[in-house]
């Protein structure tokens, strides 16, 4: 089982399971109250230089409040897992190239810079094209598999993506021959983020979480992360969790902080709660075109703002959120 090819991309996190085990050996695992504010959670659990990852897909179910707080607290030199990272990546890039240091230092890329059908983020392009952020290439699935490897406690997982491409050449994956079948197979290294943030529908005070709709890679990310900040639409009693344990997606022992943040995925979409605010996202893309206008925009929507509630109040407040709820349930179409 020789290594047939080794990608030349840098590895931004240690894939060793034995070293990860040493960390998890000391992680608290009792059912204790973890409720705190987002500001406190970011202060305690997100450090300069950390490898950071966040949940959701595109603009759906993203932990916006945590990203705002990372900017407000001025975290520096983060490494990041960009797996269909749209508005979240846009937010992290707002910490670079604007004279406030360098929030983003390196990124594992599956999909960044773009906002799917909405187009590319001008500022994210600026930041990546400047060369100041070091990049390694992956794909949505292989990056998700790197979380899965970490969650499984193994140093790598095999996959048949990447083969034959420049994406492989700029990844940190390698190619081997399967000892059982001789088939060529790619091995991707485990990725244990130092800290992750995931937005969920419901959580109890201990961090037992429920998610409705697609789970993307979040079940694996939650288990892979050394520290985990949960934001939730609603806190629920532990008794509710125990009434139907089949619905628990993330168990408490993965979680370090539980923050109740209603509308926490705004301006993204939260399935069964509210649709994305496409108008506000367009404002972001438009403001980014001019660097001075973007600075002013960030002041207004992030740096002058105390907390997440004040943010969405500046974006139209409850009437706007009611409209987005109507869009989510298609009520605006007379259904």
């Amino acid at each position: 089982m020789d290594i047939l090819f080794q990608g030349g991309g840098a590895l931004w996190a240690d894939p060793s399971t034995d070293r990860a085990r040493r960390f998890f050996a000391d992680k608290p695992r009792a059912l204790i109250d973890k409720v705190m504010t987002v500001a406190e959670a970011v202060r305690r659990f997100v450090h300069d230089g950390d490898y950071f990852a966040c949940g959701g897909f595109g603009c759906a179910r993203i932990p916006t409040a945590v990203l705002h707080e990372i900017l407000r607290q001025g975290r520096q030199h983060l490494r990041f897992a960009g797996h269909t990272a749209t508005h979240d990546f846009q937010l992290l890039c707002a910490g670079n190239g604007l004279g406030q240091g360098q929030t983003l230092a390196a990124v594992d890329i599956a999909y960044v810079v773009g906002l799917e059908a909405r187009g590319l983020s001008p500022h994210a392009r600026r930041v990546l094209e400047s060369g100041e952020v070091a990049c390694t290439e992956w794909t949505n699935y292989t990056l998700a598999l790197r979380f899965k490897a970490a969650a499984m406690g193994v140093p790598f997982l095999p996959v048949h993506s990447l083969l034959g491409t420049d994406t492989l050449r700029h990844s940190a994956a390698c190619v081997v021959a399967c000892p059982f079948t001789g088939e060529k197979v790619v091995l991707v290294p485990a990725l244990y983020p130092d800290v992750a943030a995931i937005h969920v529908h419901e959580a109890d005070r201990y961090g037992n979480c429920r998610i409705r709709g697609t789970t993307v890679a979040d079940l694996d990310l939650a288990r892979a992360a050394k520290r985990l900040i949960i934001t939730c639409e609603r806190l629920i009693p532990n008794d509710d969790i125990r009434q139907d344990p089949s619905r628990t997606a993330i168990p408490f022992f993965c979680v370090d902080a539980v923050c109740e943040v209603p509308y926490g995925s705004y301006p993204g979409n939260m399935p069964y709660e509210y649709f994305s605010d496409e108008e506000h996202i367009r404002q972001w893309l438009s403001a980014e075109k001019d660097i001075e206008e973007f600075r002013t925009f960030l002041q207004k929507y992030i740096f002058e703002v105390r907390d997440f509630t004040e943010y969405w109040q500046r974006c139209g407040g409850l009437p706007r959120l009611q409209e987005l709820r109507r869009q989510e349930f298609l009520l605006h179409r007379g259904l």
């Binding site: 897909f57 599956a110 094209e129 794909t139 993506s161």
Partner: protein
């Protein structure tokens, strides 16, 4: 209802017709989604669609904006993980996928990573693979729907993000990609293209009404063969246009882009 149609409508109809009934398609937003919805309403009521973020067989009330938004699993039979979808593709259960890119080469390889400069300091940084490399490695037949011009149809990609036939016959298999999978059709605003069975290079299958072969070649940055007899693309039928405009995309999110 006019029988006239725009290029986007034609492309969607061409794509829809390629999707056989009883098959599965991992699709994205926009044209692929419209094509699948149209196919379901025309000849393929049992076409099953999946979105990579986890939606299986949704009943789409409207076009999703993202392959992960609420619409992508509206009244789905399952809302699952991305890994579950990708693994379903990898096991060989998914027949079609639709991909795009800033550049495509004669072998159907795609670039969606960067253009110009070098990798560390590109002139234009693009999103990267997303799920495209995975889907192109796993699904049986890759379809591309794209605008046709020389900047896009290039002899050599600036970056090979997503595998087509790589360097030609046998190259996918040699790289370790599954036998029998690969690029299938490219649908542009000028023509429907496929791949030569021997050389695995792109060639023109049919020209859209009013388009000449010279026009297609002029818009293509590499030598382009022809599959004989070269056909003329069937224009959209009134039935197709009616469904497309009234049911699939009444708000003209996609068909209005032309």
């Amino acid at each position: 209802m006019s029988a006239a149609y725009n290029a986007m409508e034609l492309m969607i109809c061409c794509a829809a017709r390629l999707l056989e009934d009883g098959r599965t398609a991992a699709i994205g937003t926009g044209v692929p989604c419209a094509a699948a919805m149209l196919a379901q309403r025309m000849h393929a009521p049992h076409l099953v669609i999946l979105f990579e973020a986890g939606g299986v067989a949704p009943q789409l009330p409207t076009m999703p904006i993202s392959v992960g938004d609420s619409r992508s699993f509206h009244r789905a039979v399952m809302a699952t993980s991305m890994a579950d979808i990708m693994e379903t593709c990898r096991r060989g259960l998914i027949d079609y996928t639709f991909l795009g890119g800033a550049q495509i080469d004669p072998y159907g390889n795609l670039n969606s990573t960067c253009i110009g400069g070098d990798y560390a300091r590109p002139k234009v940084r693009l999103p990267g693979s997303g799920g495209a490399n995975d889907l192109a490695s796993f699904c049986w037949r890759i379809l591309v729907v794209t605008h046709h011009d020389r900047r896009r149809f290039v002899e050599k990609l600036d970056f090979l993000t997503t595998p087509g036939y790589l360097t030609g016959p046998g190259a996918r298999e040699a790289a370790g990609l599954p036998p029998g999978s690969g690029p299938y059709r490219v649908i542009t605003d000028l023509a429907v293209l496929g791949y030569n069975d021997e050389t695995k290079r792109m060639e023109v299958y049919s020209l859209h009404p009013g388009v000449s072969l010279a026009q297609v070649r002029a818009a293509t940055g590499f030598e382009l063969g022809v599959r004989e007899p070269l056909a003329v693309t069937e224009p959209p039928t009134p039935a197709e246009l009616l469904l497309l405009r009234e049911e699939v995309d009444p708000h003209r999110y996609v068909i209005g882009r032309c």
